[in-house]
């Protein structure tokens, strides 16, 4: 049996098909949560924001016009919610520096240390624990962080990133490039 496409499921969700919504959740919940967690750096916030994104999807599925891919449309909702959430909580983050999901306990780390790679800089990267990578990510601008994560996690092209971030393709490339350059600089300096 042919699996319905995301676009077809979205049409069915617009017609209030609960089963279609369940299938959509099965397909995207892990990815949406992971992306939100990577952008926000906090499990509880990632949970809330990704759930909000699915609620928005359910409520506004009828507005999806099919001109872009469903994933581009949905991740635009998610990334915008993440960026909005960060803006709202900016003052709070100044007081409480970004902590990993497990707080200070290294056994509770959300990520594994990077695995081995070739090349001198790559080898240096391999030794970076996520406790260093994560704060470095947190120092990127929201657009840079979203662009880098959409590329690494979702495998989005520059064009798709530009659709999510509502910018030109060149700007999306610059976001990724500057984000990576910034990460490289931050990790080198540590």
């Amino acid at each position: 049996m042919v699996e319905p496409s995301d676009e077809e499921l979205c049409r069915r969700i617009a017609a209030r098909d609960a089963d279609a919504f369940e299938v959509m959740l099965d397909r995207h919940q892990a990815r949406a949560y992971r992306l939100a967690s990577s952008i926000l750096g906090n499990e509880a916030d990632a949970r809330d924001v990704s759930q909000d994104a699915f609620i928005r999807l359910y409520e506004s599925a009828g507005r999806f016009d099919g001109r872009s891919r469903f994933s581009t449309w949905f991740y635009r909702i998610l990334v915008n919610l993440c960026i909005d959430h960060q803006r709202r909580n900016r003052w709070w983050r100044r007081l409480a520096p970004l902590a990993g999901p497990g707080g200070d306990n290294p056994d509770e780390r959300a990520f594994d240390p990077p695995s081995s790679e070739t090349g001198p800089e790559s080898k240096a990267m391999l030794t970076q624990s996520i406790s260093r990578l994560r704060p470095a990510l947190a120092k990127l601008s929201p657009q840079q962080r979203a662009a880098v994560l959409l590329q690494t996690q979702e495998g989005f092209t520059s064009r798709e990133i530009s659709e999510v971030l509502k910018c030109s393709e060149n700007t999306a490339r610059v976001h990724v490039h500057r984000g990576i350059a910034q990460l490289r600089k931050l990790l080198k300096n540590e």
Partner: protein, 186 residues
């Protein structure tokens, strides 16, 4: 001449996103630029490690996650329904239970007619109320009328169309002493 390094294009180049022309340009540049080759390698390594790191995000209990999501969704729907219901209730409150909206139109028309009648009535009253000039004029006319009434018997016998000169001198008819002369003209 300054060399332009195609830095933003390096990652799209490595990912095979560029078109043939762009790809050829970046390839040609990389062949002669050690700095960009190093940058491309470092960027690729960072992206690769980030991807691995992100893949390791600890996942929540999905049953609990879905349960919470559905509760939020239902709560949102109930809230929306409540807001819609409140609006409906307000509309129903405005509606007249027996006559409905047509009776409101009739009522509005009746009010408009009353208002017009009131305005016209006031206008008529305004016409009847004399101004200072009108009062003076009325006073003069009254005096003249009294003079004419004093000679009523003369006036009664006048053929107005034939006695123009008499009409022009009606004031003189009222003078004492002249009355007898005028009583026997015919």
């Amino acid at each position: 001449m300054a060399v332009i390094h195609p830095e933003p294009e390096l990652i799209p180049y490595l990912r095979g996103e560029l078109n043939a022309d762009e790809r050829a340009q970046v390839r040609a540049h990389l062949e002669g630029c050690a700095q960009c080759r190093e940058l491309a390698e470092a960027s690729s390594a960072i992206l690769s490690n980030l991807a691995r790191a992100v893949d390791q995000v600890r996942e929540p209990d999905w049953v609990e996650y879905r349960g919470e999501l559905m509760r939020k969704l239902r709560a949102g729907q109930a809230r929306n329904a409540s807001i819609r219901g409140r609006w409906r209730w307000r509309r129903a409150d405005v509606r007249l239970p027996v006559f409905g909206w047509p009776s409101m139109a009739v009522g509005a028309a009746a009010i408009a007619v009353l208002a017009i009648a009131l305005v016209m009535h006031r206008g008529a009253e305004g016409l009847r109320t004399p101004g200072v000039d009108q009062l003076e004029l009325q006073q003069e006319l009254s005096s003249a009328d009294v003079g004419l009434l004093a000679n009523y018997r003369v006036v009664e016998h006048l053929d107005l169309l034939e006695n123009y000169d008499v009409i022009e001198r009606l004031d003189e008819l009222g003078r004492p002493g002249d009355r007898q002369n005028h009583e026997t003209p015919s």
